[in-house]
């Protein structure tokens, strides 16, 4: 077990280094730099100011020197300052992570709550009307863009029905109810695609398990269909779902970028979008690093949980 963990950590370290190098290269080859973005149309007209700002931001240094400086700084735990706003990056990312984490948790809960019952019903009523309806629902959810669905939700629940506030952000611990109300529509918008994928996954893994020999055995023992389904089938069928939830974390962050923009939530996704538009190199670098670490940690945890609940993995 310990050996397995060590191997996993070593490969994670390699991935992190690769991510940081790739991020650095991508950001460097993008046309336009932070100085041009910061100065905008008015400021960029002044060549002297542009050069001065480039120098001040350290953009006149060769890329290898910049990368070296950055690594030297990061290993001491200092992520530097945002080129755009001058904020210290560590605290800025932490502050933005709070709304995004809340959004991701709520979206995951919504997905799981909707997808498991529908997936199970689809499998049990294989190729009958409930299955077709479930499949239609899943495919519609997968095909619906989150940002569009978000705007539709706002029109329905905020403008027409006036049940929910349209957009914005309140910290959960400052006003839990208000925060949940504000986050409900964004979480739904973020959850759509994942819910669809999850329904399909639950359906197919329940179907697979229902065809296993031990289910036939359980049935032939005279157990009721409900007991067979819930005691014997579901437990095993939900194993792949755990993996999927872990793996989807990265996709959720991606979706957060558009959903946070639509709903004006100051989260990590929007921070990433703004930073890319402004060529805020230091912030993009730090964000990539933090996101890579998060996704790696999530997938490591998923594997560990998986091996806890499925002894076959531990042995292998």
């Amino acid at each position: 077990m310990l050996g397995y963990l060590m191997r996993r950590l070593a490969s994670a370290a390699v991935v992190v280094v690769l991510v940081s190098v790739i991020a650095f290269i991508i950001v460097s080859v993008l046309p336009g730099d932070t100085a041009a973005a910061l100065l905008g149309e008015e400021g960029a007209r002044n060549a002297e100011r542009y050069e001065a700002l480039r120098q001040e931001l350290g953009l006149d240094q060769p890329i290898l020197v910049r990368y070296g400086n950055w690594v030297a700084q990061v290993v001491t735990g200092d992520l530097g300052r945002s080129l755009r706003t001058g904020e210290a990056i560590g605290p800025a990312i932490l502050a933005r992570a709070v709304p995004t984490v809340q959004l991701a948790i709520m979206a995951l809960l919504i997905s799981v709550t909707i997808a498991i019952p529908i997936g199970v019903v689809s499998a049990v009523y294989y190729r009958r009307l409930p299955d077709h309806l479930g499949t239609l629902f899943a495919l519609t959810a997968i095909a619906t863009p989150g940002f569009w669905f978000g705007i539709m939700l706002i029109i329905l629940f905020s403008v027409t029905l006036r049940w929910l506030p349209p957009s914005g952000y309140l910290p959960f611990f400052q006003d839990p109810l208000g925060s949940l109300q504000l986050m409900l529509m964004p979480s739904l918008a973020l959850a759509t695609g994942f819910t669809g994928v999850l329904i399909r996954q639950v359906r197919s893994s329940v179907l697979e398990v229902l065809n296993e020999d031990y289910i036939t055995t359980a049935r032939s023992k005279g157990l009721s269909p409900t007991t067979v389904l819930f005691r014997h089938a579901l437990r095993n069928a939900l194993l792949p779902v755990v993996t999927l939830v872990g793996l989807q974390l990265g996709a959720l962050f991606g979706g957060a970028a558009t959903v946070e923009t639509v709903f004006s939530i100051p989260g990590l996704g929007r921070l990433a979008v703004d930073s890319i538009f402004f060529r805020d190199f230091t912030m993009i670098q730090a964000l990539m690093l933090v996101l890579a670490l998060t996704v790696l940690t999530a997938s490591l945890l998923t594997d560990l949980i998986y091996s806890r609940i499925d002894p076959r993995i531990r042995r292998g």
Partner: protein, 520 residues
């Protein structure tokens, strides 16, 4: 504290009722006090220091005072006039010197006093600070001498007939006056997050990329129409909202009071009882672009005026205006000049729609078989759609318009380095054409490298001419030459709109938001 959904939505419901009563625009004749006004701002704010912030946002005039004011003339709907804000007098003592007196008894939010020394320090900071974003406004200022506590002598390198106009909120590079004491005690970085001015609102809190929360400053010097000190509202909140469709929905739900609407949302907003206000003197022209005038430019359009004339004649401006502005725009022929701008005159020569003539000009230039031009543009529907329609119109006469779309930052980079055949570049009415520097030889703004000695001489003459009517005549001559050279293209104009909740009053232009009130 526990808040029920009902309580949370009371505000929303109240504004819904207001919206349904369909109050006519600006019905709120009598001033209202109190409440929180919420503005949706598209622009990401990088700093609240008005001298150093790169994002030139209109919210600065809420927190800071200018030396002079530029407001709607009482009793008119489209005439603006220059007035005094922190200055109380300005007298030109020679061609290049002036004496300025300052308002007495003005306090900053930190309790410090406005003095001549503070204003001198502000003007010098704007000119000398290495990160100053407003340098252009004071680059000609050589000396500032403090005469007494409230009097200054200014000395310039060259005549500055527009100095007062430059020092108003209507100018993007205005030098707002900040508290010297606060900058010196806090340092630039802390000041950028919680700056101190003397304006009607003081900064309470800035959550980066989310909101700026302002509260009324009780010690503000200026009085409102009801004789009591400004501001009218208790609080002013700026929410940074990157999606204008969502801002429009927030406006309809009553959570936002002022926003910049998308053209396609105007009709539905109006139907929902929202005030749609066309800001006078703030027209925007589209599609606006200029062709590279550099000697080494690769496109034949740079070198043969007949090609440029063909392009100008090939566009049906009336059809474009009708198709793209939802009936709110007009065909437009004068690049850089708009109704209300000195020198605007519809009797000046212009390129009418004449595809036959365009084909003839192309043939004369030796391109009867066709010619192509590539225009670089930021990938935004507002900028792109007009070019796409124009592409079809130019195709009719044999000009292939290639449209190269890009992000804003690489677009700035292309412009700055002059790396383009033609560049699409926003064109909005400015208070005075002298603020527009795209056609002056050697100007940082002249990305196309346009250079005509006659135009330069006329600009120089205009910048020495204090009388507006005389300046307008000079501007007409500049337009005649720009017409002949035909490098600059424009096809239609539409006013810059503000969408406002029914209870909002007092706004004449978005740089004067400080005078807004909210009827409860």
């Amino acid at each position: 504290m526990k808040i029920s959904r009902r309580q949370l939505l009371v505000g929303t419901a109240a504004s819904a009722v207001l919206a349904q009563t369909g109050l006519p625009a600006f019905a709120a004749n009598s001033v209202s006090r109190g409440g929180t006004i919420v503005l949706a701002e598209l622009l990401a704010i990088d700093s609240l220091d008005p001298h150093l912030a790169n994002a030139r946002t209109r919210i600065m005039s809420l927190m800071f005072d200018s030396l002079f004011s530029y407001r709607l003339k009482p009793g008119t709907t489209d005439e603006f006039e220059l007035g005094y804000e922190l200055a109380t007098g300005f007298e030109e003592t020679s061609e290049t010197t002036a004496r300025m007196t300052l308002r007495q008894g003005v306090k900053f939010h930190d309790g410090s006093d406005l003095t001549a020394e503070v204003v001198k320090w502000n003007l010098e900071r704007a000119r000398d600070h290495e990160k100053s974003a407003v340098q252009t406004s004071v680059s000609e200022l050589v000396n500032v001498t403090v005469v007494d506590d409230h009097t200054l002598d200014l000395e310039f390198k060259s005549p500055q007939p527009l100095f007062r106009l430059t020092m108003t909120a209507a100018n993007a590079t205005n030098v707002y006056i900040v508290s010297k004491q606060a900058v010196e005690s806090m340092g630039d970085e802390a000041f950028a997050h919680k700056p101190v001015g003397s304006g009607p609102y003081a900064v309470e809190n800035w959550l980066v990329d989310d909101r700026v929360e302002l509260v009324a400053f009780s010690g503000h010097w200026e009085s409102g129409l009801d004789g009591k000190p400004l501001p009218y509202a208790d609080r002013f909140t700026i929410r940074q909202m990157p999606d204008q469709s969502v801002s429009a929905l927030e406006l309809r739900a009553g959570n936002v009071h002022i926003m910049d609407p998308l053209e396609q949302d105007l009709d539905s907003l109006e139907a929902a009882g929202i005030q749609i206000y066309a800001q006078p003197g703030r027209d925007t022209g589209q599609p606006s672009f200029y062709i590279s005038s550099k000697e080494d430019a690769s496109t034949p359009f740079a070198h043969d005026v007949r090609l440029r004339q063909a392009l100008q004649h090939a566009v049906d401006r009336e059809a474009m205006a009708a198709a793209l502005t939802f009936g709110r725009g007009k065909p437009h022929y004068y690049w850089g000049w708009y109704p209300g701008v000195p020198g605007y005159d519809e009797s000046l020569p212009r390129y009418e729609y004449n595809p036959e003539k365009a084909r003839q000009l192309l043939a004369d230039a030796g391109y009867a078989d066709g010619v192509s031009l590539t225009v670089k543009v930021i990938n935004r529907p507002k900028d792109l759609q007009p070019l796409e329609i124009m592409q079809a119109m130019l195709g009719e006469v044999g000009i292939t318009l290639n449209i190269e779309t890009m992000d804003r930052t690489p677009w700035v980079e292309s412009g700055r380095t002059g790396n383009f055949e033609a560049l699409s570049h926003g064109n909005t009415a400015l208070v005075d054409p002298l603020f527009r520097r795209e056609t002056m030889t050697g100007s940082d703004a002249n990305w196309a490298g346009y250079s005509n000695p006659k135009v330069d001489a006329l600009w120089a003459e205009a910048s020495r001419t204090g009388d507006t009517a005389a300046r307008a005549e000079i501007y007409k001559n500049i337009q005649r030459i720009l017409y002949e050279d035909a490098y600059h293209f424009i096809a239609f104009r539409a006013p810059k709109m503000l969408a406002m909740a029914p209870g909002i009053g007092g706004i004449d232009s978005d740089y004067n938001l400080r005078y807004a009130w909210l009827a409860s």
